[in-house]
Subunit: 233 residues, 2 copies
């Protein structure tokens, strides 16, 4: 049977700046599934990464827009309080990923990690050294989309895998080249993990077992559409 299992990691505590997140996620892996298996992928919501890295700030309501713009490379659209921006990483999302929910306290915000790929690499190495096995790691956020209602979780940081499955040149069942040639599997893994993280109240991390991630040393920047191909600037 071709099967994928996604498990919510249990017992990760409220994270504070300076916490050793790799150790805490490692504890949760041991608690929930015993150990890592070859090919396991860890999917971690950026909020705990940002908190551990001190990417939180106290801002007044009047400073909220300034806090968004400080993380912004370019404002793409603005409607009333809604700002769709391109972050300093190149991601297009609402509010530059800044969020007041699940923040450390009233009047606090959580920002995106400065370098979410580097965050993913640190988790990969920290958790990997404990289990003697390097997992792929995806750091995620919930993004809205153009044209579609509702958020889905996407990858904003990646380590130990390519975020894209490249099918260029691969034929369909009848030998004709496939038309959809690049699949954003890191985004699909982020979305899949959200389903189980959301189901387990307050679980910031999930383990995916049974998916062979595309090999490679990719980065989430690979998921960003290059400017010259962006039809919705």
């Amino acid at each position: 049977m071709t099967e994928l299992r996604i498990v919510a990691l249990e017992g990760i505590p409220e994270i504070r700046p300076g916490d050793d997140l790799a150790a805490l996620i490692g504890d949760a892996v041991a608690r929930t599934v015993g150990s890592l298996a070859q090919g396991d992928i860890l999917v971690v919501a950026h909020k705990v990464v940002s908190k551990a890295e001190g990417r939180v700030a106290r801002v007044s309501d009047g400073e909220h827009t300034d806090a968004i713009l400080a993380e912004t490379r370019r404002v793409r659209r603005r409607r009333d309080d809604l700002l769709i921006v391109e972050t300093r990483h190149g991601f297009v999302c609402a509010s530059a990923g800044i969020d007041r929910s699940n923040a450390p306290g009233d009047g606090w915000i959580v920002q995106l990690p400065v370098d979410p790929d580097a965050s993913a690499r640190r988790l990969r190495e920290g958790i990997g050294s404990r289990f003697g096995l390097l997992p792929a790691v995806i750091v995620t956020d919930s993004f809205g989309r153009a044209w579609r209602q509702g958020t889905t979780d996407v990858a904003i940081g990646v380590a130990g895998m390519s975020p894209l499955l490249d099918l260029r040149g691969r034929p369909d069942a009848r030998g004709r080249p496939l038309e959809a040639t690049m699949i954003a599997v890191a985004d699909e893994l982020a979305a899949a993990a959200e389903l189980v993280r959301g189901k387990a109240t307050q679980s910031p991390a999930a383990l995916v077992r049974g998916y062979e991630a595309p090999a490679g040393d990719g980065t989430a920047r690979d998921l960003v559409m290059p400017t010259d191909r962006d039809l919705f600037p």
Copy 2:
């Protein structure tokens, strides 16, 4: 353990116009997992739905653009051969969802179902009557996205569930209202199923077990951003 399982359904044959797809998927459910369980969700790639419904056509290369425009309500962007359009259903995607790969033969195209929600309802009822248990059904396609590379599978038809998980009014861990209030879980389920369908070569359907879908009699049109809130027309 909070766990989600996604299983590729095995042995679904090449589909031809007029085939009883509900029966064939039912056979695959029986073959792969024995029977349906309460809460199971079936995720089915539209290509087999479209083929069973006769939504295929033979067009010359010169007629390909006309075939796309025939399914189009409005062209959103055009660059060389790439057409990003709003389909008659309201979905924004490349080529109105028309695809030449995995088509019935050279020179053939596969179109989207005329009413993918109705297709999902028919599968729900057909498969449900066999097992005495009505599954939620999601019909999917692979869509590109604004600003991000690669396709992800999304829901274009839904039956037996709400495609959106509405968290409005629900508090975070500290009692503050959540900022991201609607999660497009049907799209996340479509994406999750693609991972296992893609892994199992040529599997057009997957079963998701262990996810409690939002109750409701929703439609995939709920996932379409209303025109007055679309910032990227």
